[in-house]
Symmetry: C2
Subunit: 129 residues, 2 copies
């Protein structure tokens, strides 16, 4: 229960809370942009479900509207996502990296960043060994 599984839409909602801090349902819904956003009650349903999953909680009220805030951290959620993803690849990390890298979509700057991260990691591993 510490780490409930979050679906895509649930994550998008959590993102709003992570980015903006405590937020009302109306504001979450409007943050989806005017095109093709879900209905107010759709967002509401997802928020309620996130509440039962203990991913967020009611922080306070403004008028008769509840203001919700995140309970789980973005990092925890992303770690969970990564696990999920890895399990799809049989838990082996290397093919995943390869796939991601080969899938392109990386700007030269991204490549540089990734390389730096890898070098740091390699250095750390060496020191540990």
């Amino acid at each position: 229960m510490a780490f409930p599984k979050l679906s895509k839409l649930e994550l998008q909602i959590m993102d709003v809370l992570w980015n903006n801090g405590p937020t009302a349902i109306r504001d979450i819904q409007e943050s989806f942009g005017p095109k093709g956003r879900p209905a107010y009650t759709t967002v509401q349903t997802m928020v309620y479900r996130l509440e039962t999953k203990k991913a967020l909680r009611r922080a306070r009220k403004i008028g008769n509207a509840h203001i919700f805030e995140a309970v789980i951290s973005r990092d925890a959620a992303k770690a969970r996502l990564v696990d999920e993803f890895l399990s799809m690849f049989g838990g082996r990390m290397q093919p995943v990296m390869a796939q991601l890298i080969e899938a392109g979509n990386l700007s030269p700057a991204d490549v540089a960043d990734a390389e730096k991260l890898l070098r740091d990691l390699a250095a750390k591993k060496k020191k540990e060994a």
Copy 2:
């Protein structure tokens, strides 16, 4: 339709076909190992659903048993998975790489492989530019 979304169990089934070539349901089921494998008919149901999704097809019969073979390629499926995953992160690649790298689970050899891939990619991008 060219590219159906595959769930985790569906992928595990496809993996058997990708690894072993055309396979009967019984053999797919047994490839899950004796512990906690799904029932024969569960595998069968998933295979049938993969068939309607056009992810695999009936290749031939042996006795009264159908032999199934993959229609979609492993690479295509994995590319699709990567897309799915990226969309969870808002489509931005760099944070994903960072998360994966920081999530650990990489052997030194994995790191080296990834670095090499990145260097090759950087070189290719430079040449294109």
